[in-house]
């Protein structure tokens, strides 16, 4: 057991050197690391927001939105597919109780209508091979379309992925460093922004859906009609703060946000008020030119998130696809809108369900005190080990120090984050490492004293007998680390990660590494007894 083949010695040494070397970049300030040549790998352990300061936001999407917008889109698809030649006349199309219904006027065309319907709903298999819509016919000519659970879940999943993208783009525009945006569960997104002091602006930015539409104003509608909400089927009433309170517009949008190629905050060339300059893509530009040509002299509404921002008159055809959004902006709010428009519209509305902001000052204070306590504690522990186990205390100390650096090194490889609960995990593994060494050393003592073994045999049996308990104790820790990681939430996971890494390194340094040191000493000096 004390025989170490040469390759094994080298394997242990190389493992330790590599892991310890990997922990080094984490100790060097970032601005210094920047000056290093690019080929030097720089794995670092990042500090969690509870230590480094910053903002943590958990956002939840309203999944009802997804269901509703899917039904609306389906209604439009059904309308257009039925209108195609030869036309299938339908009527009474409506969305109610989470389903879409319509009537086929000519009962003889029910089968033809079904064929057409399958074109837009997909003939049966979605991405997952499951049906996305349930189609049924009641009273011989009324179709009922109901989204299936599988279809809805798939749609939510897609929407959430898109939303994550959009949120991530918006935060990047915000210019913060290393934001972390991840999906969590079915309908949540977690945003972590280190160093951010005031998340107010960030929250406003994320909260904006940024759905941009240009719609023509329906000038035929009277103010009385707007008041009563009784407007023609093709029109709708939207809030309009600048010009009174509400305005009627046609439902069909001439331009939508997906035709944008760029949006920038700028100033009005005439009066210098801040606004947003937008640039449309080819399709958008052509359509905008055509509509403005046909509707010269009439007003159109610029709508963001179903609020009319302004409703200017079309004085002349607008060619080239450039337009401006004006209307009571400050520089900040114009900039925010520009960012939101550039990053695309959110497919769902997000609301903040959890928020944690810790100032970096608080974090720094904690770190300073934590480091001080850590250093003093380690020194005390080393002193205690040395006076208790003499030479073996030195080996224990080596193992503990190497262990701490190895944990950091391995965490750096995985780019793991060190949080407060992570430090608890750290303390636990250091405790386990101390205990492993204490077990071994006590056992060596016992083998020598009680069973009168010689030095070599005492060490040999000491390691062998102690290993069993060390193994069992650490397996149970591994079990709990795995379970905590699998079902725990954020902080508990942070604990579990450090624990899992630490158990491996503790056993490695506490058992293998010290045995190597002890074996080397025994080989060189061949002592008769051990002072322990």
């Amino acid at each position: 057991m004390l025989d170490f083949p040469r390759w094994k010695v080298w394997a242990v040494i190389v493992t330790i050197v590599v892991c310890v070397a990997l922990s080094i970049p984490s100790f060097i300030p970032e601005n210094l690391r920047r000056t290093w040549p690019g080929w030097v790998p720089q794995p670092t352990v990042s500090l969690g927001l509870d230590l480094a300061g910053g903002s943590y936001l958990q956002l939840e999407a309203d999944t009802k939105d997804v269901a509703a917008s899917r039904l609306d889109a389906m209604r439009e698809s059904v309308r257009s597919v039925m209108r195609r030649d030869p036309r299938v006349d339908i009527g009474d199309i409506s969305v109610q109780n989470g389903q879409l219904t319509f009537m086929v006027r000519d009962p003889a065309k029910v089968d033809a209508a079904r064929e057409r319907l399958l074109e837009v709903t997909g003939s049966g298999a979605g991405l997952t091979g499951q049906r996305v819509w349930d189609i049924s016919v009641v009273d011989s000519s009324r179709f009922v379309l109901k989204p299936t659970q599988a279809g809805l879940e798939e749609a939510i999943d897609t929407a959430m992925n898109d939303a994550r993208e959009v949120v991530s783009r918006r935060i990047n525009e915000f210019g913060t460093r290393e934001p972390n945006v991840v999906r969590q569960g079915k309908n949540r997104i977690v945003v972590e922004v280190p160093g951010l002091k005031d998340p107010q602006a960030l929250k406003e930015l994320i909260g904006k859906t940024a759905k941009l539409e240009f719609k023509l104003v329906d000038t035929s509608v009277t103010p009385q009609q707007i008041q009563s909400g009784n407007v023609p089927a093709g029109s709708q009433v939207l809030p309009y703060q600048e010009g009174g309170s509400q305005i009627a517009v046609f439902r069909n949008a001439m331009i939508t946000g997906d035709m944008l190629v760029d949006a920038r905050q700028d100033y009005d060339p005439q009066d210098g008020t801040p606004g947003v300059a937008i640039q449309l893509d080819g399709v958008g530009s052509r359509r905008f030119a055509k509509v403005t040509q046909e509707n010269s002299g009439k007003p159109f509404a610029i709508i963001v998130d179903n609020n009319v921002i302004s409703a200017p008159n079309i004085n002349e055809p607008i060619l080239g696809g450039a337009a401006r959004i004006n209307g009571g902006f400050t520089v900040e709010s114009a900039n925010q809108l520009a960012v939101a428009l550039r990053s695309g519209k959110l497919p769902v509305t997000l609301k903040v369900v959890e928020e944690r902001t810790i100032s970096s000052e608080l974090g720094q204070d904690s770190i300073n005190k934590g480091v001080l306590a850590g250093v003093v504690g380690t020194l005390a522990l080393i002193f205690f080990m040395l006076i208790t186990y003499a030479r073996f205390g030195v080996y224990t100390t080596c193992a503990l120090v190497v262990n701490a650096f190895m944990i950091l090194g391995i965490m750096a490889i995985f780019n793991a984050t060190l949080t407060l609960p992570g430090i608890a995990g750290f303390v636990l593994t250091i405790g386990a490492a101390v205990d492993a060494n204490v077990l071994i050393n006590e056992r060596i003592r016992e083998e020598q004293r009680v069973r009168n073994r010689n030095a070599l045999a005492s060490v040999e049996f000491g390691y062998k007998e102690a290993s069993r308990a060390i193994f069992d104790a650490n397996i149970t820790n591994v079990i709990s680390a795995i379970i905590m990681f699998a079902i725990g939430s954020g902080p508990i996971r942070g604990f579990a990660v450090v624990l899992a890494i630490g158990i491996v390194t503790s056993v490695f340094t506490g058992v293998t590494f010290t045995r190597l040191l002890v074996a080397d000493w025994l080989k060189r000096n061949r002592p008769k007894t051990i002072q322990i």
Partner: protein, 321 residues
């Protein structure tokens, strides 16, 4: 005197002689702790009940009543004010106002301005808000993680030792968790997600202790097959005593230093761990070892497995000084 020996050689303390008293004490403590948890309840952090905490740093200590009065004057009647380690680090907790993000944000801003303009040298250092829905989830997943981990550990010990050991370890863990919870009910230290991590750490330490004692019991059962259970358990505990003392002391030293010098944010955390070490050490001797007797562990439990074990010295009894 060098190297230092904290525990003399060949101790023979009849630990289990007091097992009945210890067990009664343990059960009383468990019952008292659980009763306290029910009657007095926890000072649950916003992680578990939802709400908003605004953390403020004051350059000099400010009477809590002044802060409370100030808060009441701007419309926050129901605030909880707590100190984080010193009178200069204050957390002001409110329930989450109705009306979603905007209302919560408005409330936080209102509190921030009120504090920073009324108390000289006061700075808001952090805002945390957790909605009721999320806090429920955090509570559920935390409790689940704790429960499942405990049962899985007990199962492993059952397979690795005997069923009595598994039950013993599970009961010891239950004992440790119950007492720690009792500690939080008594002191009313804030109980948040970090405390769950502390409890998990305590479980880890306590389990370590338990397994070390169990391992020695298993070893001795194979060695001294005819020895009565009580002396065998006593022998095992005595043989591991030195290790128990050295390990507990090492960790205790580090934790005590962390408690005194460490950051305020982890005060509750460190305090509970320090307490956990004491409880865990006690439970591994008096709860997890003693329970083996009540579960009628027989000296021949490991005979089957022990055949062919070259370490079995076939000693029927040992001279005890």
């Amino acid at each position: 005197m060098f190297p230092l020996k904290l525990v003399p050689d060949n101790t023979n303390i009849p630990f289990l002689k007091y097992r009945n008293i210890a067990m009664v004490l343990s059960i009383l403590l468990i019952v008292a702790s659980l009763a306290l948890c029910v009657v007095r309840g926890f000072n649950l952090g916003i992680d578990f009940v939802g709400g908003q905490t605004v953390r403020v740093h004051f350059d000099r200590a400010v009477p809590i009543d002044d802060i409370r009065a100030k808060m009441a004057s701007i419309g926050f009647d129901d605030v909880t004010i707590q100190e984080f380690g010193s009178a200069q680090e204050i957390g002001i907790r409110t329930s989450l106002p109705e009306g979603g993000d905007t209302a919560a944000e408005a409330a936080a801003t209102k509190m921030r301005t009120a504090i920073e303009s009324n108390f000289e040298g006061a700075r808001v250092t952090g805002v945390e808000s957790v909605s009721g829905k999320v806090s429920n989830e955090l509570f559920r997943t935390g409790a689940w993680a704790l429960g499942v981990a405990m049962v899985a550990i007990a199962l492993y010990i059952w397979f690795s030792f005997e069923w009595q050991f598994g039950v013993g370890a599970l009961f010891a863990l239950f004992h440790d968790v119950a007492l720690t919870l009792g500690f939080f009910a008594v002191t009313q230290l804030e109980f948040d997600l970090n405390v769950v991590a502390a409890i998990l750490t305590i479980i880890g330490y306590s389990l370590n202790d338990t397994i070390v004692v169990y391992d020695r019991i298993r070893e001795n059962m194979r060695k001294y097959r005819k020895m009565e259970m009580v002396p065998l358990l006593n022998l095992s505990i005595n043989e591991t005593l030195s290790r128990t003392v050295v390990t507990s002391l090492s960790i205790g030293i580090v934790l005590a230093i962390l408690l005194v010098l460490g950051p305020e944010v982890i005060f509750g955390f460190t305090a509970s761990m320090l307490l956990g070490i004491v409880i865990g050490t006690f439970s591994s001797v008096y709860v997890s070892a003693a329970i083996l007797l009540w579960l009628r562990l027989k000296p021949d439990s490991f005979v089957q497995k022990a055949t062919g074990d070259e370490n079995a010295e076939r000693v029927t009894s040992r001279e005890l000084p």
